[in-house]
Symmetry: C2
Subunit: 776 residues, 2 copies
Amino acid sequence: MAERSGSGRPVGSPVLRREDDRLLDGRGAFLADRAHGALHVVFVRSEVAHGDVLTVETEAAQRVPGVVAVLTASDLALAAGHIAPLHSPDPVFSAATAFTMADQFLDVMARERVHYVGQIVAAIVAVDRYVGEDAAELVEVGYERRPAVVEPEAALAPGAAVLHPHLDGNEAASIEFSFGEPEKLRAGAAVTVTDTYRIGRHGAVPLECRGVLARVDALGGSLDVWTSTQIPHMVRRGICEATGWPAGDVRVHVPDVGGGFGTKANVYPEEILIPAMAKLLGRDLVWIEDRQEHLTAAAQGRDQVHRCSLSVDAEGRILALEDDFLVNTGAGSLWVAGIVANTAIHLLGPYRLPAAHIHGRAVFTNKSTVAQYRGAGRPEASFVLERSLDAAARELGFTPVEIRRRNLLTAEDMPYGRPIPYRDGVPIRYDGGDYRRCLDEAVDMLPESAVDEVRREHPELLIGHGVGCYIEATGRGPYEAARLEVAQDGRIEVMTGAASAGQGHETAFAQVAADRLDIEMDAVSVLRTDTATLPHGVGSFASRSAVLAGNAIVTVADELVEAGRRRFADAYGCDAAGIFYCAGVFTAPDGRTATWADLAKLTAPGQPLEGSPALQAAGTYRCETVTWTMGVHAVIVGVHPGSGVVRVLRYAVAHEGGVEINPLIVDGQVLGGVAQGIGGALYEEFCYSDEGEPTSTTFAAYGLPGTCEVPEVRVRHLGVATANPLGVRGAGESGTIAAGPAIAAAVDDAVGTRIVATPIAPRVVRAAVAGEEGAA
Amino acid sequence: MAERSGSGRPVGSPVLRREDDRLLDGRGAFLADRAHGALHVVFVRSEVAHGDVLTVETEAAQRVPGVVAVLTASDLALAAGHIAPLHSPDPVFSAATAFTMADQFLDVMARERVHYVGQIVAAIVAVDRYVGEDAAELVEVGYERRPAVVEPEAALAPGAAVLHPHLDGNEAASIEFSFGEPEKLRAGAAVTVTDTYRIGRHGAVPLECRGVLARVDALGGSLDVWTSTQIPHMVRRGICEATGWPAGDVRVHVPDVGGGFGTKANVYPEEILIPAMAKLLGRDLVWIEDRQEHLTAAAQGRDQVHRCSLSVDAEGRILALEDDFLVNTGAGSLWVAGIVANTAIHLLGPYRLPAAHIHGRAVFTNKSTVAQYRGAGRPEASFVLERSLDAAARELGFTPVEIRRRNLLTAEDMPYGRPIPYRDGVPIRYDGGDYRRCLDEAVDMLPESAVDEVRREHPELLIGHGVGCYIEATGRGPYEAARLEVAQDGRIEVMTGAASAGQGHETAFAQVAADRLDIEMDAVSVLRTDTATLPHGVGSFASRSAVLAGNAIVTVADELVEAGRRRFADAYGCDAAGIFYCAGVFTAPDGRTATWADLAKLTAPGQPLEGSPALQAAGTYRCETVTWTMGVHAVIVGVHPGSGVVRVLRYAVAHEGGVEINPLIVDGQVLGGVAQGIGGALYEEFCYSDEGEPTSTTFAAYGLPGTCEVPEVRVRHLGVATANPLGVRGAGESGTIAAGPAIAAAVDDAVGTRIVATPIAPRVVRAAVAGEEGAA
């Protein structure tokens, strides 16, 4: 699928994912596979979007045979009843962007008020799920309903009901910055295009829903918790903050995880309640989210509205961008700072941009909570900027490709700074790549002229071509931890804080360790993350695993070699400095050699270092700031004029992702990202009634693309190394970010619409084809 | 209870056991407490002592609702169908003692032949124990019965059926050695007393029966196994040898264990079957031994018959000991070498002994298997030697105390060698103490004259006084492992290979670590042993934990301080050699200080050693040979002339156990040992019918002493330090070894019998009181 040549070393090799045999054979160890014998928890969830909880009648449920307990918030003596945000912005960034953030109020279990349908009000503990579900229906919750606030404009309107009583309004966060006199430049512009853009609420919807298992087997009152998460250390922190337990009393393990995409990079009420209830009852408990719960209560993404003006000169060169946007965070988001700031920063795009004025606000409503979902604010920014560029091109008579060629940064521009800091407080500095060449490569793979061939293939469809560019800050810090240990048989065991959610860490991290240690990949095992073996860590999100965890493995591998030298020297009485290491073999000046297995054996009974700790090294890789990935999507769609159904027929991604650890995995990331991008562009939407009732709680109502909706995706990697030891940039979100604007542009090209909102539903397209006003 | 003065430091302090609050409050984490949700295994056990298995009909059992599987040996693809001995004697020792040992044949699950009632023939896996028990009754096993061989003399008789087809006889092991011309000395002796002594079969019968739990939660096919064992590393080896799994694929954990006493220092078929079946079925499995199973199928102890001649001169000085003994090992013993050799060596006693000829054989019969039980061959040796001395004293007209005073070694004799090696191949060398003073101290606490006072208290009883001496090789090597780690909060976590079975390791090991690290005991946690955290270890048995694991903690604590110095130096950029450590505080030459908690914090995010491995040290203590404990029991009994019931009324133990880590725990060990010694002397016996059917399978049939049967025990510790760093000797078996001969002597004194066998049942005493011939 991708075009490249291999290097012969582990890093860069397109080896097959070693976890796939296990996962595809049904031998995966997902959470539900590991829950044998635990009591099942069923949550009673709010059926109203906004209201006061007056009564919770549990007696009937408690009488159901097989019900062990029915618990409400008052039964749980939690130190803190709510979950704290997972990220606060850097003070330098906050000062530069006037960033403010309201105190969040994400209940672990509702006490007095509910803020969204699906919020947890009570929990049934039962011998099995069937009994638990039956009992849950017998819990009677008495509500005093309050009017639901669903749209952010309404939530901010004067006189709007304040949803969270401890706040004086519904604003969750605010950001505002400007540079380069945008108003003045707008005044002198050849063209200013202004429009309102809406990016619908959709989300990750992973193959595996969420789930939490707590086992009280451990001694001394401590708990083992398994959760289908991307961020075990943050979950541990959330549990400890809510319960008051010391960090050493809870060990969070990550089993096989069937997809995360950001919705599992959240700390959920269920992740706190299951351990807290297990401890209270002294019983192993499991909760396995069903699909309806997932579509109702798991954190969702996107849901933004932008009012944007783009000013360009007569040559199509960008002069100024002015954008005012709202993020509908629903009942709240632990990542509100990240999402709002991501959108604001990524609105600046991969282009020369002299001036900008960005103002964004996150708003509380009575929808479900929001987490970072693949792209996390960037797809929205890309949609707004790219659609604006297309509009300007149309006004000026340029092709979409041409207007981009005139604005994209090139290798000569690098490094390219922006006069504002990134979220970590470090001035933005695009760190290499040739963005215009990315466009050229994408159009080379899928030129505008290809529509002719596609038209011949699909005479029944209206065919259009579109492109979309994106920029992405990847490899967010501050650090990631890695630990390498030499097992008794000499294999190297690797663990990092970047818990795998199915991205192929078992393979890619083995490649990194094998490469750095100069050994065979088979000699490396990648262990799943747990917070006892690795006491600190950050997690897998924000396209950070390869950059942070990958480089942490490199750093720690070097330390492991040093530790090996010292061990060799200790055992054989020679000088560590004189020991040469190559290809898994330590050689002393006198010619004596030892492999890793030989060193491991030194600690066995009767050996020179009998009983010594296993040879290990641990440490972190810390980066000052992010590294920037860029790419261009080119797409050809066919629109069925009668139904308005859009089919994606050709897709190409040219991508500057730095060094690839495993090109097959990067391909997979891009392909999967495109699939989710197509879903968001055309099919997926979490809809709510005016009363805040979710109406997309089944797969009949929430559309997902299948294999038939996703074409072959051609991928071309440019591979300009960046400055970290591996030279890698993040690639996990690349496939998703520009899919929306590229597909919208292609639809416009096919049927002459002007798409300003996603998803691009058939009714919208149908109306446009029929020439209806205001349809799109 | 004991008489001593404290030192003020942790080692030597009579602090209360820190585990007792948990254990006495019902908060212990025993195996059965941790088994929630696992499927239950019920074993189908042989009902015949000897026979060929023709058919195993499982269909009816498989049809029982709730039965998940019924497995027989052919369903389990085990690499090895049997369990290998846990100990082979040293070659130097074998050569010096003509030691030979037959290949053992302890089936994991019976295939073709059964050798004892209780042997496992099939296993039911069911949703609960009730269903499993019902189903087990439906399994029809067809046997071709063979004649049972129950007594060792019969098993060795010419023409006896050979029980194990791969052998050419029923001899399991043989030992023979002599020194100093015993026949010549016998010929010149004033008195030679010759008799046959029988020590009945009894055993540990701990408060908690056995149990095994295997969880398949771990990824990559590995298993977590919890077992109520004293020897987790040997259990892991047994599992791996039988299954062929690498050691890294199984992690053996030790939960709270409610007593072991040697019967849990065995590798049992159940410990292999539960993990093997869990892996096969992919389900968590638990087996919890019920009391009837324990009394039938758990390994038992003792069961020896000796023909002994003791020759003394006219002054009562020992000239020669000649003994020919048989150990009835039943279907086999993984410790056959240890038990046979222990008996042979300890027959030499704490006395000057110019000449001896010892010949011992272990014999296979159709009784249950045998493990080392508290004393492990030594109580039998003590019984034979002490009873012979009493007989010689009677012949010569000496008191029992006087004949011992004339033969016991004194401080001037030390070190005292024997012209044969110990089991580890090192020449026997009693390493200090004043054995005659021990006798004096015991008699000082409980003089012969005390019978007068006791007679006045109990005019209805016949009163007698007895003494018994013992010698004990303790602290058997070759090594033990310890690991100390500084937890995130600065506490020191200690783990050793000497898994606690309730002996107070949590307290005593914390004392040792706190003492050596010069910190408060509260700053030390002792973790339960698991084979992943501590990859090598030996176990808790043979009065070795304090000696081996205690000294390993000392060694590793010193290494931890060195590691702390290096860490301090790394973090603060100074020279490790210049850092002073005292009372938990490291001080640099410039006055900067750091506690253990400060050093732990250095690895947290943002700190100087961010992500570094937790500060730890691990290593072993290895000893060349054993250290010798000695003691004297003095007892006064009252015999009820009508019923023949013996009551133990006064008890005193003077004991040379070296330095005491915790005098309260040593007292507890001695007291508990005396209780078990009283049980073996008076009440406990595993009886078998002539067909090999066990007839002591309930507590109605197998008598145990309760608190009413055990008097206050006065203990006096002499405390001559030995050469290891802590100066400790083993004390775990001291209370048991000489109880039998002391009580037998007191009964003789009371009623004029000559007791030559245990248990001293009321019918035996009654017959003696009635003057019946051959009664005792």
